[in-house]
Symmetry: D2
Subunit: 394 residues, 4 copies
């Protein structure tokens, strides 16, 4: 099986893309149990408990539904369940994933209106408020924001977006993609008044890809009754009906659900606040390394740095993709590529999920050695700077 034999005995691969993250052994082993009858009483008990536990991760007391699908499926579900063809949606183009979301909206017959950024910061909250205030007729049906933009490493201030919508007195729904943010950085579906939260399994939840999520407010549920985009697979209504007894309308991805159960247990044993603090600490250490190398972090606004990943800009005339290829070849580490307009301009370091301080040191070491091996101008000392911070001596 080629996928695990390509580098025999050369030690553990460092999977430092910003998701899928490193799946812990406990989750992999949970997934390795025999599939069970998804319509039997044991499954019903399991499903009910799991769906209940899942709410804790989103900090919500409202329903969370699970699709066997990638995160883009959960995006489609969010739009298809709440909107109708021709509806206007306000979208904040914070990066590549926000861009993809807008494309998706177009394919479903929606009319996206873009608030652009330079891909070096989070969503422009003031611009959102302004656009909504201007929309006296309330033609805008939803505001779509990416909480953690995986292509740039910028976070958007969701609580502030909520406040802006309220300040404008606008009834638009708030749809938030936290696919790469959930369970790595603070997220509060209820407190922040999000209507639909979109998430995936392969990031902070530490699972392999294959599951995605919608957390759903009462307002969104009500919108679902009148939404006009044709839908079946993504339809929340049969899902919620079956979920009430712990079941699913079509066959669920049982073994991934086993893994989800184990992953939530791990997160809760560590404590979500500890998980977030760990990510914050590793992200700060990473940025210190980047600066010590004399390189630039893609995000320019300190309050909007992501603790999930750090995108690093290469000096003009140097190829991020060549650097990544060198690091993969020589040091057995995968880093994230630049997406869209950032292709070859940045590389992305994932420091999320089941990840500890020495894995981070190894990761930064791989980057530092790779910069040397690939001939990218830089100063040594990044790892040293990160260690100094991690050790409380910064």
């Amino acid at each position: 099986m080629a996928y695990f034999q390509s580098k025999p005995t050369s030690g553990r691969h460092f999977l430092q893309i910003p998701g899928p993250s490193n799946t812990p052994d406990r989750v992999l082993r949970a997934m390795d149990y025999p599939t069970m009858d998804h319509r039997g009483p044991d499954f019903g008990r399991f499903g009910k408990q799991l769906l209940e536990k899942l709410r804790g991760v989103f900090k919500t007391s409202q329903p969370v539904v699970v699709f066997p699908a990638s995160g883009t499926g959960a995006w489609e579900a969010a739009l298809a369940n709440t909107l109708s063809p021709g509806d206007r949606v306000l979208m904040c183009e914070t990066g590549w994933f926000a861009h993809l979301w807008q494309e998706l909206a177009g394919k479903l017959g929606l009319k996206p209106e873009l608030i652009e950024t330079d891909w070096r910061r989070g969503a422009d909250v003031a611009a959102i408020e302004a656009a909504l205030r201007e929309d006296k007729a309330h033609g805008i049906k939803a505001v779509c924001v990416v909480h953690n933009e995986t292509s740039t490493g910028a976070t958007s201030r969701i609580a502030a977006v909520r406040k802006a919508i309220d300040a404008a007195g606008h009834p638009a729904l708030l749809l938030v993609d936290t696919i790469s943010g959930l369970a790595s950085i603070d997220y509060r579906h209820d407190e922040w008044g999000v209507d639909v939260t979109i998430a995936g399994s392969q990031k902070g939840l530490m699972l392999p890809p294959g599951l995605s999520f919608n957390a759903i407010s009462q307002k969104a549920l009500k919108a679902a009754e009148g939404a006009g985009i044709p839908r079946s697979y993504w339809d929340w209504r049969p899902m919620l009906a079956a979920n009430a007894q712990g079941f699913f309308p079509s066959t669920p991805a049982t073994n991934l659900l086993y893994g989800l159960d184990a992953a939530i247990d791990m997160l809760m044993e560590e404590g979500l606040d500890n998980v977030f603090a760990r990510h914050d600490r590793f992200a700060e250490a990473t940025r210190r390394a980047v600066r010590a190398w004399g390189l630039e972090v893609q995000v320019e606004v300190p309050g909007e740095y992501s603790s999930v990943l750090t995108a690093v800009r290469l000096p003009e005339g140097h190829s991020a993709n060549a650097l990544r290829a060198t690091i993969l070849e020589k040091f057995n580490m995968s880093l994230g590529n630049g997406l869209g307009r950032l292709n070859d301009r940045v590389f992305r370091i994932g420091h999320l999920g089941d990840f500890g301080p020495l894995q981070l040191v190894g990761t930064l070491g791989g980057v530092e050695m790779g910069l040397g091996a690939a001939g990218v101008p830089h100063k040594p000392g990044g790892v040293q700077a990160a260690m100094a911070y991690l050790n409380g001596n910064a």
Copy 2:
């Protein structure tokens, strides 16, 4: 973790529903490897090889696409990629899953026209031909048939359906659901002239649920260009573009793909013809057991018996669900329930996937003992009859 602790030390659970089938250890262990970078060069090589191997299972040289989704998702993909709102589709209601497909078509804005059956046989080929001959204007855009109806245990003669369409000189597409048939019973996407084949991972492919498939003819690909149902997640076009290099447009369910790779290897090592013969043999043994008990097989047409599962009718006044509960409680075996109008009237024995003769004897023993324990009138000797057949002494 409740899902594997409910029956401590009482031996291996018999998962004899008609899918998910028993996942072999080799597939589970393959899935238990660390997730890899789905955009890296190792994945590209792996993906290309896997997609190529996958064609062999469908007996096609045309593309097969893989969705992280349940089988119903692959249904939606088949319809959404080839049809437009308002299109008429001819559907054969062979049982519950055919019924669900028709509901789904309605939700997408299509106009299903039903050819009904009594749920005790495959699709009515003559009726299909008649309907198409009558449709001189070629308003019918697709004929939808379930190859292996999991709710009844009836197979439909797909080659004959193809012939009927051709005999009628009708240009309708032929869409076939072989979710529970593929890799258990003979199926030939190319030779039978199927335009879209719909399949899932958790049956003959011996995987946990979470992946589904479309095999796609050139004619279907062409239809995709003009199809008008809004689609994004299910859209074949970006999928095929990425697949050409072994990649996927959104994050694939990597660990399930590892399992798929192992499962195809197992099928090919045994040989598809041997796999089919094994299923045929176990199905005949099962029917002999049913008859020995004095019970009735749901399907009435010998040429349309499924080798994947056998649905068994209970005598009037007896509850199939009570029987199943007794068997689960006393013998740690899950059987399939009756669906739709067959609820509580039949139970279904899955004899598919990674399944050997002694597992079959145990399965039939559990049914025979359960009939006794639940007070269902029957004659003993079913297991004996099955063993006589299996041993070549029938």
Copy 3:
């Protein structure tokens, strides 16, 4: 890897030898965790808890030591820790394993004295008592009995042996091999006054082979101080010293200990009495099948039937090994061979460990079909008889 590819996709192998038994998934998955530092604080805590839990399985409050070794190693440990070259030991030759034990004693320089049987019953308690009464000089230093003779399926009455020793007023140590009995049938180290109990991992404890055990009375510990057989690896003293803190004097088989921990949890969740009752029930069902076939159980004394395995005699002129080869080839089931003088005369059915009623029905079905396929004269109906008993209708 040849060991799991030889029968691709033909379903689960039935491992019905009388040990190694079928290892449950939960135990295999526990063993699949990364090895930990066997000298670190986490291990110390784990080791202490595990050694404490382990006592419950032996029904003792005295020490139990664990060797990375097969069961024969634990035999050697029992003798080497308590005896000196030239010591006389009274041994009961109940079958092949008792015979091997005697050979082992000879190799260590002991003088075994044999009480023979016809290999169709347990140890002759009256003969033990007589021999001890005759030994006025107390030259006999130990009485060695096999609790569950795996080669014949006979159990010896250990409590009665203890009583016989006491009645004779003899100070000999009582050494008992319950390698294949422990955790399948009742065993009481303390209550029965056993001095050294010898056990292994791969039978009722449901683990793979690789660990073996000595439970040790105070009297045996005292004997260890004066014992003269040179010993190092097997020496209890450094073992007990390290065990006090949860550690081991040389590197323990860490991953097998993980599995042991999981296995004990499973046994305690089911409850040892329930485990024993399950084995008794399956053994009685098996004997009923054997009699229905018109064959003979090797053991002749009903009170000494083992619930762990059943050895079945073949009619004169028929080969048990040919039968076993047929069953392996046609039905993918491994049965135990006849050992020593029983080679080719009996086959042995293991019905121990992680084993449920439908696995038993499949096992007996494989034997019944195999008898037919191999041309061994028999009457059909064995499986039927077993099912009637299992279903409470006998």
Copy 4:
């Protein structure tokens, strides 16, 4: 299960003791397959192939036997099979493990004669030759050397020892412990004329502990015929007889053998020479880090540095155990403790087995941060020095 829950979600544990080493997933997954019949034909084929493959790792065409036991068991086997009580054996006390070996020899009734060292170098070859020359009567029956002394990180020059024995014209057997050396650093059983090689599973072979090995010369086999230490479990003769058909005289540790099979495949895919070069490179990088910190490597002779592990001396007045506790607590890494007279004076860094460059950087980073956190005087820059070397810029 306490052994894997103590540090929830804080990332992967760094197991950097000098064995057990980090077991690769491929080996763990191989061990996770169901146990098979150790007396059946599939096992015979598997066993024969495995025993054959195993010889390649020892670079021998002579037999290699496998015991379910720790490495100390294989020591005992080497002595017990070749020597008789009262025999004189020449032993080189290179460190704690050599010391234990001498203790063991004494327990078996042998008369060890010691050639001491200061535990900072390999065996004194000249002293060996001198002692043998002096032994005109050939009373010394064996020379015992530790190839890779795990307590100090010193290697002994085995080829030179062989030459010394030959130069002295002495018939003593050469017994070599390469428990921690095999499959990490160069070892040649045949070419170096070793009579018994002793090895274990949990070091360079990348397995969990539980298996140990003897590679056996013809001369040693001949000695086994006359050896007088009582032996049964360790006896080579029944082992070799059974091994000829791929079987074992008592139940083998089947699942560990699965892992061994996978591990040998991995080593051979990488190529033993590449494996050795990788270890050499990581060891040199480690020593550069140690020197950059201003600390001292325990071994003083450059030609005798081990590439398996590096023992590092602490400045006077500082506790190596306190340092290790700090590193475990803060950085989730296990390091080896000082043994015997080196307790608390050194800590040992294992850089063996399934180990890559970024794991090494993380490991050294953990040490460097730990030195700071524990207040051990040192200069920063060790990681930097190691990286410079690893990157070819040294």
